[in-house]
Amino acid sequence: MSGPSDFQPSNPALQWLERRLPILGLMHSSFVVYPTPRNLNYWWTFGAILSFMLGMQILTGVILAMHYTPHADLAFKSVELIVRDVNYGWLLRNMHACGASMFFFAVYVHMLRGLYYGSYKEPREVLWILGVIIYLLMMATGFMGYVLPWGQMSFWGATVITNLFSAIPYVGESIVTLLWGGYSVGNPTLNRFFSLHYLLPFLIAGVVVLHVWALHVAGQNNPDGVEPKTEKDTVPFTPHATIKDMFGVACFMLLYAWFIFYMPNYLGDADNYIPANPGVTPPHIVPEWYYLPFYAILRSIPNKLAGVIAMFSAIIILCFLPWLDAAKTKSSKYRPLAKQFFWIFVAVCILLGYLGAQPPEGIYVIAGRVLTVCYFAYFLIVLPLLSRIETPRPVPNSISDAVLAKTGSRSTPMVSTAIVLALAGSLFAGSIDSAKASEGSDKPPGNKWSFSGPFGKYDRGALQRGLKVYKEVCANCHGLSYVAFRNLAEPGGPGYSVAQAAAFASDYKVKDGPNDAGDMFERPGRPADYFPSPFPNEQAARAANGGAAPPDLSLITKARSYGRGFPWFIFDFFTQYQEQGPDYVAAVLQGFDDHVPEGVTIPEGSYYNKYFPGHAIKMPKPLSDGQVTYDDGSPTTVAQYAKDVTTFLMWTAEPHMEARKRLGFQVFVFLIIFAFLMYFTKKKVWADSH
């Protein structure tokens, strides 16, 4: 892509091809001899990381699409079946779902790098705008992908986002109908989102080709922001940049694998494990983390149309960045003021993201407005002003000069560090206040679970006892519709033999048919059958239980959670704490109390529960001491029952957890070795260039 290549393949067959289609020469000039500035730092490896992530998302996505059913009644179940029954389906799904988050994480780093080093400036304006287009396409793709599992958050996220377009005067309503294909979000919506979700990544790939083309015409920017002048300023792309990118990708994969294998639900929302229900809005609709800053901007403006305009402007404004910032010096390395404001801007974005996840009330709304003003002020006031008043430090003559100087005295960005720390401190203080303010339910106490941590395994005894508690108590009202009897004999489960599972199944009566006479009939269960539900449909379940249908328990430990709050959610990333759901379920089972505390009113037909949100639960106290007999001598107490049945329900929600963590360990060992190899190879390759 940088002019005609003089590359001549030695193989005659390739020479024949090259004369007709000079594709090898194109590859050779673009990715082998292509000169890259020799002073690039590791922030420049994110381009390669993003290409890797795009390839990963397309690859896993295409395979997932082979197993997925885009229908409102079947989509949720088909995703569960992918995770449970498809070979390594859990891996594919985690790779794709976490991959979206990693993709956005990488793109944010990539964009901020461009912002810091002035990579949008002349002659790279078109390159930058193509990047903004890719980012917009990514946002659309990510949003539609999040709709496909058809959980509660999928459905309501789709409703909220498509309704944004209704704010457009005159044509808004017709646009929304066009998006829905009906009168509300429904099956036609899901179908078209699936189609578009499959299409857009290939458009992204197309724009990425343009992006790389523009990059190779203008040449890469670099940390010093001076264009390469002589051959001494550059190194050939291969092996120098290739090996450095490989090392960057390997390190990035470590982070990616941490999520895939150990914290697959950390970035997701528990509500999305509840199937979509058009009749119930979740109490708190939150988009995926990568949209949160823009969501905060949307909500901070009290007028609907103005809010929508502000949200879209926050992205579109990036297109005008090359002209808003007219400073001649590219890199913020040599711009003392721009550097400080850059870090303030980063803090503003992170805080907006935090606010986007908070309920829109009180101090959060005011803080949101202040930060929204700061966000736009950075682009519209700070950058244009700085380019006029700032005196930049002298820029080195050439890249090789910069490399040789190698920054003797590094002044630490004191001011910006102080600002970031102060912001983090106020965030911390604010979250303590809000934690105090949120009453309504108590936080469940933590438990010691056998399945927590990177080497966690299910306690077989607890699984077997939990199954007994489920069968004798819970199954009277709650279904377990995603679990088949055959699962009881699968590795990583309760450890029954195939014969035991078959015998267990034959205790159940399963409805089958129609037979030759056209009648439905009952037969004993087989291993391939699923646990039968206690009620024929949701309405029957609702009618028999005072208006509240007992939820299916297959996914309950993943579908329930509670807010951890700042700073705990940051610690959780390192400790791999994932057990909010089990802690909550175990707490609710033990949280019943006949004595209702002062100030809490419990309506007729409900019961007081310390840990249930709002305290009034429709389920009567399910467990009492001695209710279920245990054969293995474990104590027959409510605490023990609760713990056992919760362990069992964790297994029903994550039947492949042991395989996931085992494979995760192997992948980590491999990746660490691979990263070291890449690092030392890179050192060797670059030995002469520093």
Partner: protein, 138 residues
């Protein structure tokens, strides 16, 4: 990409029997995939809705214009928040009406927006009284 024929056909008018709905109760029916709230309002709720100075409302509309005369006790509204489409909860909020849990919009006992980010009142779907205890929506 507009709605197909079967979707349009499924959106035909529906009839709802009101006789089982006691005073102070409300029911939710689905029409065109949208929840429709049918409230049997109490005397207090009607009085509250009519006592308001209409001009002071964000989206001025009198209660009389939002119900059918002779059937003042029945409020029929599309239960979709005009902000971003969540479903408000009936009998909550400060105005004896609806409260949207998503972004905190509050509607009164006539389904009019009183507080929060929503720009407009809950829309009234097209409906007619077939008899005193039966309505046809659509």
């Amino acid at each position: 990409m507009n709605p197909d024929a079967s979707t349009i056909a499924a959106g035909a008018p529906i009839e709802v029997d009101l006789s089982p709905v006691a005073e102070g109760q409300d029911i939710k029916v689905f029409w065109r995939g949208k929840p429709i709230y049918i409230s049997h309002r109490t005397k207090k709720q009607i009085d509250e809705a009519r006592a308001v100075n209409v001009a002071s409302l964000p989206d001025p509309q009198s209660d009389e214009a939002r119900v059918k005369s002779g059937h003042e006790q029945w409020l029929v509204v599309i239960g979709i928040c005009t902000h971003l489409g969540c479903i408000p909860i009936a009998h909550e909020g400060n105005y004896d009406g609806f409260f949207c849990p998503c972004h905190g919009s509050q509607y009164d006992s006539s389904g009019r927006i009183r507080q929060g980010p929503a720009p407009a009142n809950l829309p009234v779907p097209p409906y007619t009284f077939v008899s005193d205890t039966k309505i046809q929506i659509g």
